[in-house]
C-alpha cells in the first residue's frame, strides 16, 4: 500500500467517528436527507447516501432523532430533527470532542 492510500485509509478512519457529531449538530434544525447532505457538503463534510441514510435510521432507533413524512414540492420527503435526548447527547459529545481536540493539540504541538 502506497503512502497516498495509507493516508486515505487513515483519514477515513479519523473522520468516521466525527460524522455522527456533524449529523446531530446539523439536525438542530429540521432537514430531509438530500438537504442535510447538501448542508454537510457545504460545511466540507461529504457523505454518501449509503452512509447517511443508514446512520439516520440508527440514530432514530436510538431515540436521538425524530422523523416525519411530509409532502414538499409535490414529493413526499422524510424530515429529521434532533430529539430532546439527542440534544443532551449532542451536548455531551461536543464537550468530549473539545476535550479530545485539546488533548490532541497538546500532543501534536
Amino acid at each position: 500500500m502506497g503512502e497516498a492510500e495509507t493516508f486515505e485509509a487513515l483519514r477515513l478512519e479519523l473522520r468516521r467517528g466525527s460524522l455522527v457529531l456533524a449529523v446531530l449538530a446539523r439536525l438542530r434544525s429540521e432537514q430531509y436527507g438530500y438537504s442535510l447532505r447538501m448542508a454537510l457538503a457545504e460545511d466540507g463534510i461529504e457523505m454518501e447516501e449509503s452512509t447517511l441514510y443508514p446512520l439516520l435510521r440508527r440514530l432514530e432507533s436510538q431515540g436521538l432523532l425524530t422523523s416525519e413524512w411530509r409532502e414538499e414540492a409535490k414529493r413526499k420527503k422524510r424530515f429529521y430533527r434532533l430529539s430532546a435526548e439527542g440534544e443532551a447527547v449532542l451536548a455531551r459529545l461536543h464537550a468530549e470532542w473539545r476535550r479530545i481536540s485539546a488533548s490532541l493539540e497538546t500532543v501534536l504541538a
Binding site: G33, E48, S50, Y53
Partner: protein, 368 residues
C-alpha cells in the same frame, strides 16, 4: 420501467419486508433531488447516461441495501474471528493426526503406501473443507445471537496453555500439552493444563472422532464399514465390518455423550462430584466396550482370543517373541493394546471415586 425504478427495485429486492417501502421512498426522493439539482445547473433534462452516472455514484444496489441491514455486515465479526480461527486450527491438527493414523493402519493392513498417502491427502482436503464449512456456519449463527457466549469474556489465565496448541509446530504443541518446551523456566515449572482446557480439547477431539465414526468425515476416502483389512495373509475384513456394524450406534451415543459431558465440565469446572459421576459412567462404558471387543466381539474370534487368560498369555507371548526375535505380530499388538486399554478406564474409575467421595479435584488448586 425507468432506470430509477429498475435501480430501486434491485435495492428493494435485497431488503427485508419491514421498512422496505420506507427505505425505497427515501432513496427515490434523494435520487430525484439529485437529478433536479443537476438539471437546474445544466438548464436541460438529463440523458439516460447521465442518470445512470448518478445511480452509479450512489452505489451498487447490493452494497446500498447491505448498509440498511440491521444485522452484522460480516459472516464472522472481529470479536469472534480469533475463536473461529483457533477452533479451525485445532480441528485441522486433529484431522492431520487421524489421517496419519489412517495411513499407518492401511499400510500395515497391506495397502500400497503411495495409494494410502494419496487417499489420505484427498480425504484430509475434503475433511478440512467440511470442518471449515461447519465452523463458519456455527460462527455465523453465534455472530447473530444477541449475547456472545460466556467463554469469550469469562476466561482464566491458567487455561491459556491450551490455546498454544494452535501454534502449528512441534515446539508449540509440546508446550501446550504440558512439557513446556520453549517456555521460560519460570513458566515451565508452574504450567499445568486446567480442567477447563482439558475439557475443551477433549470436546474438540471427541467431536471430530465422532464425526469420522458416523461418516460425516471420511479418512482414506472409504467409509469405515468398507475397509479391507488383510494382515500377513489373514483377511480380517469380515470380522472388522461385523464388529463395526454391531457397535456403530453405541459408539455414536458414547461420542455425543462425551462431547456434551466435556462441554458441561468446561462450563462448570467447580462441579467436582458431578464431573466424577460423569467420568465414572463414561469409564464404565469404555471398560465394558473394551472387554466386549477383546472377549466377545467378532474381532476377538478372528484374533482367536477366547477369554482374559488367553488374552494375557497372548500379550506375554507377543512381548517375549518381539524382544527375542525382533518380530512383532500385528494381531498380538492389537490384543496387547486392548488389554492395556482395560487398565485406563479402571484407573479412571478409581480416581473419580476418590473425587466423588472427597469432593476435591487437585487440578483445581491454584498453581504456585
Amino acid at each position: 420501467m425507468t432506470l430509477i425504478d429498475r435501480y430501486l427495485a434491485a435495492v428493494a429486492a435485497q431488503l427485508s419486508a419491514a421498512g422496505r417501502d420506507d427505505v425505497v421512498a427515501e432513496l427515490r426522493d434523494d435520487i430525484m433531488s439529485r437529478i433536479e439539482a443537476r438539471q437546474e445547473g445544466l438548464g436541460r433534462d438529463l440523458t439516460p447516461d447521465e442518470i445512470e452516472t448518478i445511480l452509479r455514484e450512489i452505489g451498487h444496489p447490493l452494497a446500498v441495501a447491505a448498509r440498511f441491514g440491521s444485522g452484522p455486515q460480516q459472516l464472522i465479526g472481529p470479536e469472534l474471528f480469533p475463536w473461529w480461527m483457533f477452533g479451525v486450527k485445532v480441528g485441522l491438527i486433529v484431522l492431520v493426526a487421524i489421517t496419519l493414523f489412517s495411513v499407518l493402519i492401511k499400510t500395515i493392513s497391506g495397502q500400497d503406501l503411495s495409494q494410502a498417502i494419496g487417499q489420505g491427502f484427498a480425504s484430509l482436503f475434503s475433511g478440512a473443507m467440511t470442518l471449515i464449512g461447519v465452523a463458519t456456519a456455527a460462527g455465523y449463527i453465534i455472530e447473530r445471537q444477541g449475547e456472545k457466549p460466556s467463554f469469550i469474556t469469562n476466561w482464566r489465565v491458567r487455561d491459556l496453555g491450551f490455546f498454544e496448541v494452535a501454534r502449528l509446530d512441534a515446539e508449540g504443541f509440546n508446550h501446550a500439552l504440558g512439557s513446556g518446551a520453549g517456555a521460560p523456566e519460570s513458566v515451565r515449572k508452574t504450567q499445568r493444563m486446567s480442567p477447563v482446557a482439558r475439557a475443551l480439547s477433549s470436546a474438540v477431539a471427541a467431536a471430530v472422532l465422532t464425526a469420522w465414526w458416523a461418516g460425516a468425515i471420511l479418512f482414506g476416502g472409504v467409509p469405515l464399514n468398507e475397509w479391507v483389512v488383510v494382515v500377513a495373509g489373514v483377511d480380517y475384513t469380515h470380522a472388522v465390518r461385523e464388529t463395526v456394524s454391531l457397535i456403530f450406534w453405541p459408539v455414536v451415543v458414547y461420542g455425543v455423550s462425551r462431547v456434551l459431558f466435556d462441554v458441561f465440565r468446561a462450563a462448570n469446572p467447580r462441579a467436582v462430584r458431578l464431573a466424577a459421576v460423569g467420568d465414572i459412567a463414561l469409564a464404565c462404558a469404555r471398560f465394558v466396550f473394551t472387554a466386549w471387543l477383546l472377549l466377545i466381539s467378532p474381532l476377538s474370534r478372528a484374533l482367536e482370543v477366547g477369554d482374559l487368560r488367553q488374552a494375557l498369555e497372548r500379550t506375554w507371548d507377543t512381548v517375549q517373541t518381539g524382544f527375542q526375535s525382533g518380530v512383532w505380530s500385528l494381531s498380538g499388538i492389537v490384543v496387547m493394546i486392548m488389554v492395556m486399554s482395560l487398565l485406563e478406564p479402571a484407573g479412571r474409575i478409581l480416581i473419580s471415586l476418590v473425587r466423588l467421595v472427597t469432593g476435591v479435584d487437585r487440578r483445581l488448586e491454584p498453581s504456585r
